[in-house]
Amino acid sequence: MATVDTSLVHDAHTHEHDHHEPQSFWRTYVFSEDHKTIAKQYLITGILWAVIGIGMSIIFRLQLGFPKMSMAWLKPILGEWINESNQLDPNFYLALVTMHGTIMVFFVLTAGLSGTFSNFLIPLQVGARDMASGFLNMLSYWFFFVAGVIMFSSLLIETGPAGGGWVVYPPLSALPQANPGSGLGMTLWLVSMALFIVSQLLGGINYITTVINLRTRGMTFSKLPLTIWAFFLTAVLGLISFPVLLSAALLLIFDRSFGTSFYLSEIYINGEALPNVGGSPILFQHLFWFLGHPEVYIVMLPALGITSEIIATNSRKPIFGYRAMIASMLGIAFLAFIVWAHHMFVTGMNPFLGSIFMFLTLIIAVPSAVKAFNYITTLWRGNIRFTPAMLFSIGLVSFFISGGVTGLILGNSALDIQLHDTYFVVAHFHLVMGASSAFGLLAGVYHWFPKMFGRMMNEKLGYIHFWLSFAGIYCVFFPMHYTGIAGFPRRYYAFTSYEWTKTIFTDLNAFISIAAIVSFGAQFLFLFNFFYSLFRGRKATQNPWKSNTLEWTTPIEPGHGNWPGEIPAVYRWPYDYSKPGAADDFIPQTVPYSQTPESNLPHENELIAFEKEIEEAENLNDQFRQPH
């Protein structure tokens, strides 16, 4: 770092850190404190978990689509979980459903998405050398890693992993007698989740601090890319809601392991009364959903942020309603905390209270619709480039709308009585949150792959991957609305209790399962593309998407500290695409207004006077200049 100003003595008792020290293999690639390496670690771990998590859904989809099919061929993997008649063990089915939910929501779409892109993009897009605390950031990943190891080990134990659904409602989850998975599997689940929460808190604290404290010269909040706004609000949501889940889990641990009665009231099992008195299982649901609902937005907001960036860049148009986008994200983040009881309409809640929560829930449609409209109006008459990232972003908008519309139906407390815990709910949240954020994740990987690895991904494979996934996901989840309206409950191993469920929708279920297998298969195209391009992909250029944001001003493969010299200053917002009068159809954030008189608007000409200040200001947030 030639430009590090060592003459600047901040403090006699702190010393300038030497940033040139070559680090060992372990410190560079494994226990790294560099945000880019940690982001890649999160990405790779997230991909592994996604394969496991989606793979599980394929196994239980086989059971649902083809209930009589012989699963003997799965014996090498599942062993005893395939019983003597070559059928899937019903308890293991429940465990699969539980683990699919847990893995996808927490490990893939929370850690894999936020962990990858918040870590990777926040310092690069706000103009920082690294995260506020590299050490806490490293700790965050390794807590996640250990949480993952523990969760994975629960798959291998004899009684199987947790089987009470990803929401782990007591008393099912609190009593080991309830289900094989409620024994050791549930204990491991709770330990793993406690570590995961710590990991997310460490990560989130870092993201918030970095966005607030380490922005470069000129990077005001009103010039932040929408990705950063989204990651920032996501981290705030996590910071406020994850401790509540920790409380809930802690009390559940006490109930399970020490015999307290927070969630357990008078219960008889096999005619025998348990000693527990005076607990309240509904209490757990309140605590769980106080996290659980913001969690939906923790999963969704980063994907929406990534989409904002990709759609604007590839439409070659400024994002429509930049401030409206921020306001709607703020609105969503605020409302996220006061709607949790819409998951509990059928718990015997006071109907008046239910109608309040219904009202608050339906209000979320407003900011969500603002976002959807803004995406469409950004696309409108844009000079659209259909890169794979762009296709996945447009796919996200499609899922967000079609899944969001059913949210209006479910948010209605009267309709929810019929639809609660049916496949309609499954269809709703898989579209609006599952598939949407997965598409956001994939779009992000396609878009920032060149920055991460210095190479491009194959576009043709990307197109095939997109169309198979897009069509496949609609084929999986659209029919589920019908089975849900017909009353098919979710999480059931087989529909044999009633005559009518035995005969109808068997073809539809088979169709859904085939579509699921096709969509899952398409993801292997992505995996091949990812790992092939990692080593053999076309070399990336400096700014392959002709994008405005700061990360494309770094070297093609940024080193430690991201920028070799001074961190560039920022003079304009990140969405100056196709500005009338400008020579190029993009003007990066680092170009001052004084250099673009041909395209400036009157109020921008007035800003030229202040540019000298920004340019000459010392970057006091530059971590290389600060004593550690």
Binding site: V244, L250, E618
Partner: protein, 197 residues
């Protein structure tokens, strides 16, 4: 000591940062937010559960009142330590921070005695949630207080090595802020338990 002060005086004026808070202090505040949410969840769970009836009424052992007094004193002494550091009064600083640390340990011991008295009163961890919550609140607070003691230990070490002084206040500020927070958190929990027991 004189050498120490001399080198301090030669330091040029530190430039002001764009945001007046340094990242480490900011991280502390965010950490405090997460602890607040943890206890907010716990106390609201308490209220929700209590409203459902079947609630054990018992007297809170008086030792919790005394321990509160000790913790408030420790909060005053850490502020005294901070004031001493600002004025470069190293001996006072060392005394004050040591008293704080000892008071913190005393508080923990008294909390434990409180548990012993609860057991004597036949209020157990396992049983009516009214009692269980009492143990969870005090236990979780004690857990955080131990983390506060660890932070304090680092500040203690630094001040004995004369690394805490008027130009290097971050460490003592962080320790003091966290300690004051733990104090206020306990006062909140204590008043809450008295009012809603």
């Amino acid at each position: 000591m004189n050498e120490e002060l001399e080198s301090v005086n030669f330091i040029e004026q530190e430039p002001e940062e764009t945001l007046s808070m340094n990242p480490r202090k900011f991280i502390l505040w965010l950490f405090i937010v997460s602890i607040i949410m943890l206890f907010a969840a716990m106390t609201s769970a308490y209220l929700v559960r209590r409203a459902e009836g079947n609630w054990l009424e018992y007297d809170i052992p008086p030792i919790f009142g005394y321990s509160t007094a000790v913790l408030i004193v420790s909060s005053l002494t850490i502020h005294w330590a901070y004031w001493a550091a600002k004025k470069d009064r190293f001996n006072t600083l060392k005394t004050a921070i040591t008293i704080t640390f000892v008071a913190g340990m005393a508080f923990l011991y008294m909390q434990f005695q409180g548990w012993v008295q609860l057991v004597d009163q036949k209020v157990f961890f396992v049983g009516n949630p009214a009692g269980s919550f009492m143990y969870v609140f005090t236990g979780l607070h004690a857990f955080h207080l131990i983390s506060g003691l660890i932070v304090l230990l680092f500040a203690l070490k630094a001040s004995f090595q004369l690394r805490v002084h008027a130009k290097s206040l971050d460490q003592i500020e962080i320790a003091a802020t966290y300690w004051h927070f733990l104090d206020i958190l306990w006062i909140y929990l204590f008043l809450f338990l008295i009012y809603f027991h």
